[in-house]
């Protein structure tokens, strides 16, 4: 008999259904992946399994866990199952942990409520669990508040709180979406290592995550389960149209065509730029340390790195949105002043920006047509209102949006449509450089592809140069000519797209590439190549800033900071870059355990 049996599950709010007749089962100890785009009903289904849907949800059908009906069960009965036999991990551990309670209290309360342990016994069990999820100084983490932990550590705490009772079924809803890619790899490893015979229901939009880790897959679309089957056969021969689409849209770093390099003529260059912030307590934080690079005409330069790498601070600096503490900018052969207030209209017009979250980047009180036409009021004063409007309409059709949308407001648009409006607003000024700061990070597969197509076709048509900031190397692989990799405010490697993905020279780049789950069940799963997380920029490590996590570290790395130098077609800031291509990596246990 199955551990979990779902049949005819239907969830609706005020008459409109979000999950519409779903049947599936999970056996003891099985790992099942649930994939689909946002709004496909996968998270709603997961919440229904625990009886956690809001009061206004109408739930029909049957969810049986170990023979017990969940739907309509009284709260006391559910509370005996929740946390003990079925546990759940949520997407964003910052939101999912209580910021007002110490970590130890949040975990021991679970034991206390289920009468598994109290007092010193509970404390001991919690400390053991914290150690098991890889938190080195368990005593200290026990006393910590969630905001004192890094994102990865928080998710480890979440996992500890879910597994501390030894549940039969673990539901993980996008457990790594809010994390950096090297940390994601660690968390996925940890889940696999700790779950033993606990059945796993892993919900994700990322096919790479489930490809190597789940035995079976359930594919959701529009509230329905459109396909299910063994992972290998589903990847090899998808039967449903939507599964095929999802597979095609999955970005891959292991395959891809290389764009022809752009002409070597610099449009914008950044020389020795540094950006420094002051914390509330007056401590100096070096967000960007002495970065030099140049953007060529008509190319897309990707800047990649994990959170805290300084990639956003760098472009904010070059756009004049934050003050640079040193360095200079050259645009089209002439010096460009730092602060945005000091720039000429012509300069402002030439550099345009697209943000990550399109909905908050658009004024909710303005129609789409007004939003797109607005920049012309400043930059093309001579033209009439009707001329502005017709240019805006033209721009909308260029980004693939229907003219009818011009009377809509931003909340009436999908995420992808809103982002194309933001791009239209930037492109209407015919800029020379477009800066996209995580512009597709908030979008699902097909919407993401269409936004990328819009950027690519604008580039082909007008010779636009693009700075493309992203944490997603799969996307970077498909859109960029060159790739710059940043770590802790430094540029560690920059190379042509094909060169960087084929032969990454810096150990951090290698680890970054190896961390990305490949959407192919036949590909070998690589265990997390890096331990720990990015150190604080308030106290960057001495010498090479990467040395605390580097598998190839030697004494010289701890003593002196490497400069960028040419290594076989790449520019790399690593003392050992030439030697490590064939070197064996030290196992993580030999690494200095900086902070885990």
């Amino acid at each position: 008999m199955s551990l979990l049996e779902v049949s005819g599950l239907r969830i609706s709010y005020g008459g409109s259904s979000v999950v519409d007749g779903v049947d599936f089962a999970v056996a003891n100890g099985e790992s099942v992946g649930v994939v689909g785009e946002s709004g496909s009903g996968k998270s709603q289904t997961a919440l229904a399994l625990l009886g956690l849907l809001p009061a206004d949800a109408v739930v029909e059908g049957s969810v049986e866990f170990d023979g017990q009906q969940i739907i309509g069960a009284p709260e006391e009965k559910l509370n005996k199952l929740r946390g003990t036999r079925i546990a759940m991990i949520f997407q964003d551990p910052m939101q999912a942990l209580n910021p007002y309670l110490r970590v130890g209290r949040q975990l021991s309360e679970v034991l206390r409520q289920h009468q598994l342990a109290e007092g010193q016994q509970a404390r001991k069990t919690v400390l053991e669990m914290l150690t098991r999820v890889g938190l080195s100084d368990a005593e200290r983490q026990y006393r910590a508040y969630p905001h004192e932990l890094s994102g990865g550590m928080r998710q480890r705490v979440m996992i500890a709180s879910a597994l501390i009772t030894g549940p039969d079924l673990l539901i993980a809803d996008e457990p790594t979406t809010a994390l950096d890619v090297t940390v994601q790899a660690q968390i996925l490893d940890l889940l696999e290592e700790l779950r033993d015979d606990t059945a796993l229901l892993l919900i994700t939009h990322d096919l790479g995550i489930v490809a190597g880790r789940c035995e079976r897959l359930l594919v959701f679309e529009g509230g329905q389960l459109v396909e299910s089957g063994a992972t290998t056969s589903l990847f090899a021969a998808p039967r449903h149209e939507h599964t095929r689409k999802l597979l095609e849209a999955a970005p891959r770093v292991d395959v891809g065509k290389t764009l022809a390099p752009a002409a070597d003529k610099s449009i914008l260059s950044v020389e020795d730029v540094a950006v420094q912030y002051r914390s509330n307590r007056g401590e100096k934080l070096d967000a960007v340390t002495s970065v030099s690079l140049s953007l060529r005409e008509g190319e897309t330069l990707a800047i990649v790195g994990e959170s805290g790498s300084g990639k956003s601070s760098l472009v904010r600096g070059l756009l004049g949105l934050v003050p640079m503490s040193s360095g200079k900018l050259v645009f089209a052969g002439e010096a460009l002043s730092g602060p945005v207030q000091k720039r000429t209209l012509q300069e402002l017009k030439s550099l345009q920006l697209v943000f990550q979250d399109p909905v908050s980047a658009l004024n909710p009180q303005m129609t789409v047509g007004k939003i797109v036409a607005e920049p012309l009021e400043v930059h093309a004063k001579g033209i009439s209102a009707s001329e502005r409007e017709s240019r805006a309409l033209k721009m909308l059709s260029k980004v693939g949006l229907d003219k009818a949308l011009s009377d809509r407001y931003s909340h009436q648009l999908s995420g992808g449509q809103a982002q194309r409006v933001a791009i239209a607003r930037a492109l209407i000024l015919e800029p020379k450089v477009l800066v996209c700061d995580e512009a597709v990070a908030a979008l699902d597969g097909s919407a993401r592809e269409r936004v990328l197509d819009v950027i690519k076709s604008a580039q082909a048509e007008t010779g636009l140069s693009v700075i493309f900031i992203s944490h997603d190397l799969g996307v970077v692989r498909s859109v960029s000519h060159r790739v710059a990799v940043m770590y802790l405010g430094r540029l560690v490697e920059i190379a042509e797209n094909g060169v960087l993905f084929a032969t990454p020279r810096h150990p951090y780049t290698r680890a970054l590439l190896a961390s990305i789950p490949v959407a192919d069940p036949r590909a070998k799963i690589v265990r997390a190549p890096l331990q720990g997380e990015v150190p604080s920029a308030l106290e960057p490590p001495a010498g090479c800033v990467f040395h605390t996590r580097c598998p190839f570290v030697d004494d010289a790395c701890k003593a002196s900071a490497p400069e960028l130098r040419d290594v076989a077609g790449s520019r790399v800031a690593c003392l050992r870059a030439g030697q490590i291509q064939n070197a064996t990596e030290k196992p993580p246990s030999e690494l200095p355990s900086a902070h885990r």
């Binding site: 709260e75 005996k80 939101q95 999912a96 209580n98 910021p99 309360e109 409520q113 905001h147 709180s161």
Partner: protein
């Protein structure tokens, strides 16, 4: 923390200075003086008294003299209660006002938070509507209406409780004034608690707690109460001050010899130093209360503590 407290106290000095100057000018701007009575004094006597209390000096000079006294902790002599200094009068009246105020605030917190939490849990049900209905009534009806009505009903008609203060035995005489004073506070706190509790209960970490199998009671006690109390805490600074000053009316109605009575009499009699002294006392109290609230904020919210 110590540094923060000191900085805040330093920052309060300009506020207090402004309060002192304004209060001083307003008291003196009011028509009449401390020694005017129905029968006018002979001019030479009035002149003598004015000279004695230095009321004949120009106003700025009087202000300076008063301020220099303040620096030495001297609030001056009362003009009407001869032989008493203002400090002595405050010391005799304030303990009783504080007692009644503290009892009322304690009652308001317990009932208000309880009712607000209940209403939040039963959002949009009959229970919620009844609680919120009572709260709205409590806010709308002023103390000077509630107090006499309660006295008439409970004390005069039903004889359950004493109506006045002097001569009534023991604890019974506290009941009506404390309840009257607490009512509007109960109403405010219940509304605040309900709103913030509803907000907190919709957070992801509450969903996590449900997923961990904690029942609603445990969730409210362990996870929700602390964050839901933050808005109530912010309100406590002004509320405690309001309860202490609100007792002016209560003390008059119930005949309680607290600070409020001195304040009212002082104002009616143009007892300049007494009114000023009490205003400054209250202002200092409010500044201190707000500081305590801010410090408590850090105790509840660990993220504030770091800043």
């Amino acid at each position: 923390m110590l540094r923060y407290t000191l900085l805040r106290l330093l920052g309060a000095i300009p506020t207090l200075l402004l309060v002192i100057v304004l209060a001083f000018l307003m008291v003196h701007a009011a028509p009449g003086g401390p020694f005017d009575s129905e029968r006018a004094l002979p001019p030479e006597v009035a002149e003598d008294i004015e000279k004695h209390y230095r009321l004949d000096e120009p106003l700025p000079q009087q202000l300076l003299r008063y301020m220099s006294g303040l620096l030495q902790g001297d609030l001056g002599p009362s003009y009407r209660y001869r032989d008493y200094t203002v400090s002595e009068l405050i010391a005799s009246g304030f303990p009783l006002s504080l007692q009644i105020g503290a009892l009322a605030m304690g009652l308001a917190l317990i009932v208000g938070v309880g009712a607000g939490t209940l209403a939040a849990q039963r959002k949009n049900t009959l229970v919620d509507r009844i609680v919120m209905g009572f709260a709205m009534t409590g806010i709308s009806i002023p103390v000077f209406v509630v107090a006499p009505v309660l006295v008439l009903l409970v004390a005069v008609k039903l004889h359950w409780l004493p109506a006045g203060w002097s001569g009534s035995p023991g604890f019974a005489k506290y009941v009506l004034p404390v309840i009257t004073l607490a009512l509007p506070q109960i109403a405010y706190i219940a509304r605040l608690t309900r709103a913030s509790m509803i907000d907190v209960l919709s957070r992801d970490y509450i969903r996590t707690a449900y997923a961990q199998g904690l029942g609603t009671k445990a969730i409210i006690r362990v996870h929700a109460l602390k964050p839901a109390m933050l808005p109530v805490l912010s309100y406590m600074g002004p509320a405690v001050a309001a309860v202490l000053t609100g007792s002016v009316v209560i003390e008059e109605v119930f005949g309680i010899p607290g600070l409020g009575q001195f304040f009212v009499r002082g104002a009616l009699n143009r007892d300049y130093t007494l009114v000023l002294g009490i205003v400054i006392f209250y202002a200092t109290l409010i500044v201190l209360l707000n500081l305590i609230v801010d410090i408590l904020y850090g105790v509840i919210d660990p993220r504030v503590r770091q800043r």
